[in-house]
């Protein structure tokens, strides 16, 4: 148990599992997230993202396995460990009865490494008055204020758990711009959890996909997107049995043309389609959003009519 990042990893889990009764939230998760850059964690609802953060921050005991954050066993985080870890959740839970100045003063006294310039820089992007009550701030302003507080702590690791949830387009853009271009975020490892794929595509250097509590992917977003391909095939008769389609993530028939979203399929897939009677086959570019959605929805039950 040490207080520094172990082997350069800010987060490490080994065989980490968490059950709620019969439900598996985290399933033997082995993950090691290196220090530096922005790591995005994506997954459908119930994938175990929030549970993972709670275990990592010591707010939930694991059923089995171990979790370390900044090299420290999550169960034994000390106040000085917590000082090095910033956390922003989707609700931006701040004391609504206090003014911005009062909350700022309190945080300043709590965090020894507090950076007032960093706070001023970030809060400068928002129209927030020091005398305003936190409860009177709009959701976007509260998110910005929360981000400013977290970055001013100068954390080594900043965990953002769906921070833009419920924000309008303008507030969301402002939040992301601040995160990406603020000097305060430099030198800080960011774990960014979101359902918004365009955000992930924009901010993430590393893409981590969780599904049903298990790790499904860890690579750069471009690398992941390159693994997913979208094929359009004109098959005059009935298409192949989906169970026989290699790497199938999603299948659709639009205007009599078959669309296949597949994983890890190269040119050999063209031959497969032609063997199934395709007269014309061509490949379309895939957005990260489409790739991740296809990847995550392959196991999901869908309505019979879909």
């Amino acid at each position: 148990m040490t207080g520094t990042a172990h082997d350069g990893f800010v987060i490490e889990t080994r065989g980490l599992s968490k059950r709620y009764g019969r439900k598996i939230a985290i399933d033997c998760l082995d993950i090691a997230i290196p220090a530096g850059s922005i790591h995005a964690i994506v997954g459908a609802n119930g994938a175990g993202k929030s549970t993972l953060f709670r275990i990592l921050l010591g707010f939930l005991p694991a059923t089995a396995g171990e979790a370390r954050i900044l090299g420290r066993d999550s169960r034994y985080l000390t106040p000085s460990d917590r000082e090095r870890i910033g956390f922003v959740n989707e609700e931006h839970t701040l004391p609504g009865w206090m003014t911005v100045a009062e909350v700022t003063a309190m945080q300043r006294r709590h965090y020894a490494r507090w950076s007032q310039p960093a706070f001023d820089e970030v809060i400068g992007h928002y129209n927030v008055e020091a005398t305003q009550k936190v409860g009177q701030l709009s959701r976007g302003e509260r998110a910005g204020f929360n981000l400013a507080l977290s970055l001013a702590q100068r954390p080594e690791l900043l965990v953002l758990d769906e921070p833009t949830l419920g924000l309008d387009v303008v507030a969301k853009r402002a939040f992301l711009e601040t995160l990406m271009h603020s000097n305060a975020a430099e030198g800080c490892t960011v774990i960014y959890c979101s359902h918004q794929m365009e955000e992930v595509e924009r901010v993430a250097d590393n893409l981590i996909i969780l599904e049903r509590g298990a790790l499904r992917n860890m690579s750069s977003p471009d690398e992941f997107r390159s693994r997913v391909s979208h094929w359009v095939a004109d098959i005059p008769f009935r298409g192949p049995d989906p169970r026989l389609v290699p790497g199938l993530l999603d299948e659709q028939r639009i205007d009599g043309v078959y669309h296949y979203l597949v994983l890890d399929q190269g040119e050999a897939f063209v031959e497969f389609l032609r063997a199934c009677g395709a007269r014309d086959v061509h490949r379309l570019p895939v957005s990260l959003d489409r790739a991740i959605n296809g990847f995550l929805s392959r196991q999901h039950a869908v309505p019979a009519a879909a």
Partner: protein
């Protein structure tokens, strides 16, 4: 911690201030209607209940809002230890209780002391402290209920129950409230941790929580017994509620008229005079001696066990006993001005014990009042406005009541019945001496009825000891008839053993359910309290079959406890400790084990999700 306190105080300050104002107005209103400093214990209990509930609401709201997952992370994920954060929040809660509860009570007390002519004494300051501590206990109980796992979230109520039943008075009662607060504070600090609802990690914390939960479980078991008793009553076979109670039992004896009870006592008696006595009893009036006291008022009591005030209707003065001065203080009924203080005799000496009004003496003036203080009975003479001693019992005896019996006065003490000549009492104002002293053939706590009949050559006195016959503390019920002759010699006439109407299984239910918990709860109840002479019982030894039942139950519980401990608890020493706890404490320990140590979550080895990382 200071920042957390300040932040939390900002959150509640306006609400607390508003409550304090309303509270102060209510107290002022009630104090206009009556003297709030001289209320019976039950009135203060009602206030304590209200303060405790207010505190609990604050604790529930405060911790209830913080314990939501994201709020909780936001609160605790900072470079401040959980304990310091907890102390900051709790200090804010305590400050809120001080402003909302303590300050209005102190303001009322100040008004009482300097704005009225009513009696204000140190015990009233203790009363203010008690109000504050009870509110804090309620607050901490509410906080614990929100922070702890829901299976034992109500454990804090154990400490509230302790305060409610504790026998200590005055500073002792406040001390108990302080201990309860400290205990609850430790419980809250144990529960206040990032991973809410998890079992305490350290053995000490686990033991601390487990003991509280075990007492709570024990009290619930006792309560379950009471619920079962309600079913017994509904069934119509409960001895105390049967229209025809079991013959020869103590319930039947208690329901008899004094004459029939006396005759029942004489039924088995033998002797030449007995037939004649039976005839005399059938023809004469049999007097039940009144027991006007079931509790002894103590100096410095927070509440009044009995009224400590009376009115002089001639002089229009209201006299109230002052515990500090041990004298009565007078206030004019006409204009509310002070009318000095009144003690014993011409020098207004202090009373030896707290004085309370008693029953009338034969020949006493119609506006006179008797006052009972410990072993002495005094007469307040309205004509002269002074207090004179009339009856003095031996030291360390307590007067429980007085009843005119023909031309005599029978005085019931905790150790004997005394008979005085009514003419002597009526003739002068000097202390009178008893004609007869009839020692009580039992303990005062067991005494249910004393019946007396005047004979040609003395008195027959029947003592019935059945007061706690339904409970394991009470003596095996019996009735004894004594004859005191003209010369004052006391002669036993007959003793009748009464049938136990309640089976031993029922009477000893609090004991066999957990002998250890019974002892612990009994001692906790009497902690810091002086031995009460009126609660002296001739408790019989515990029957062997009940001991065997308790032992068998402990054995079964130990076996089940060991099995559960081996399945749920990590570490050999912890398993052994739990098994021993089950064997020693019994059922409460077993239930606490199941509540505090949940089933282990199954290891995820059977997961269907076995695809490799891609």
């Amino acid at each position: 911690m200071r920042d957390i306190f300040k932040a939390e105080w900002l959150r509640y300050r306006l609400w607390v201030l508003a409550f304090a104002v309303v509270h102060l107005l209510l107290l002022a209103f009630f104090n206009r209607l009556t003297d709030l400093g001289q209320q019976p214990l039950n009135v203060y209990r009602a206030f304590a209940g209200a303060y405790s509930a207010i505190g609990a609401l604050l604790g529930l709201h405060q911790m209830g809002t913080w314990r939501r997952p994201n709020q909780w992370i936001n609160l605790l994920h900072r470079p401040v230890g959980p304990r310091r954060i907890a102390l900051g929040l709790l200090a804010a809660g305590a400050a809120a209780m001080a402003l909302a509860v303590l300050l209005p009570v102190l303001a009322l007390l100040a008004w009482q002391a300097w704005g009225t002519t009513r009696v204000a004494e140190t015990r009233h300051v203790l009363l203010a402290a008690a109000a504050f501590l009870v509110a804090i206990c309620g607050y901490l109980t509410g906080a614990y209920a929100m922070l702890a796992d829901r299976r034992h979230a109500g454990a804090g109520l154990v400490l509230i129950a302790w305060i409610a039943v504790a026998q200590a008075s005055g500073a002792g009662a406040v001390l108990i409230q302080g201990i309860a607060c400290a205990w609850l504070l430790i419980m809250v600090l144990i529960a206040f941790r990032p991973d809410l609802g998890e079992s305490p990690r350290s053995p000490v914390a686990m033991a601390f929580t487990a003991i509280t939960v075990q007492v709570g479980v024990y009290l619930l078991l006792v309560l379950a017994g009471f619920v079962g008793e309600l079913g017994w009553i509904m069934q119509g076979t409960h001895p105390a509620n049967m229209s025809h109670p079991p013959a020869g039992g103590h319930v039947e004896t208690d329901r008899l008229s004094p004459r029939d009870r006396m005759l029942a006592g004489l039924a088995q008696a033998s002797g030449t005079e007995v037939p004649l006595w039976r005839e005399q009893v059938a023809l004469s009036e049999v007097y039940p001696l009144e027991r006007q006291r079931r509790a002894v008022p103590e100096r410095g009591d927070l509440g009044n066990a009995a009224a400590v005030e009376f009115d002089d209707r001639v002089r229009r003065v209201h006299w109230t006993f002052n515990h500090e001065r041990m004298r009565f203080e007078g206030v004019s009924l006409a204009d509310g001005t002070r009318r000095g203080e009144r003690g014993i005799g011409a020098k207004d000496d202090a009373f030896p014990a707290v004085a309370t009004p008693g029953g009338p003496l034969p020949g006493m003036g119609k506006d006179d009042v008797t006052l009972i203080a410990g072993n002495s009975l005094y007469q307040y003479r309205a004509a002269t406005g002074d207090i004179v001693p009339r009856i003095l019992l031996p030291q360390r005896e307590w007067i429980l009541g007085s009843t005119p019996v023909g031309g005599s006065l029978a005085l019931l003490g905790d150790r004997a019945v005394y008979v005085f000549d009514a003419r002597h009492l009526g003739d002068g104002d000097a202390p009178v001496h008893a004609r007869y002293r009839i020692p009580m053939p039992g303990k005062a706590g067991d005494l249910a009825d004393v019946d007396m009949v005047e004979l040609v050559d003395g008195y027959l006195v029947s003592f019935t000891f059945t007061w706690r016959a339904y409970d394991m503390r009470g003596a095996t019920p019996y009735q004894t008839v004594l004859w005191v002759n003209d010369a004052g010699a006391v002669v036993p006439v007959a003793t009748r053993t009464l049938h136990q109407d309640f089976p031993a299984f029922y009477r000893y239910r609090k004991w066999w359910a957990s002998p250890v918990m019974y002892t612990l709860c009994t001692r906790a109840k009497h902690l810091f309290s002086a031995p009460d002479p009126l609660e002296a019982y001739a408790t019989p030894p515990i029957p062997d079959d009940i001991r065997a039942l308790a032992a068998a139950l402990a054995l079964v519980v130990a076996c089940v406890g060991a099995w559960i401990a081996w399945r749920r608890v990590h570490g050999l020493s912890s398993r052994i400790a739990w098994t021993l706890a089950c064997a020693i404490v019994g059922l409460p320990a077993l239930v606490s084990l199941m509540l505090l140590v949940p089933r282990r979550e199954a290891f995820v080895g059977d997961s269907a999700n076995t695809r490799p990382v891609t």
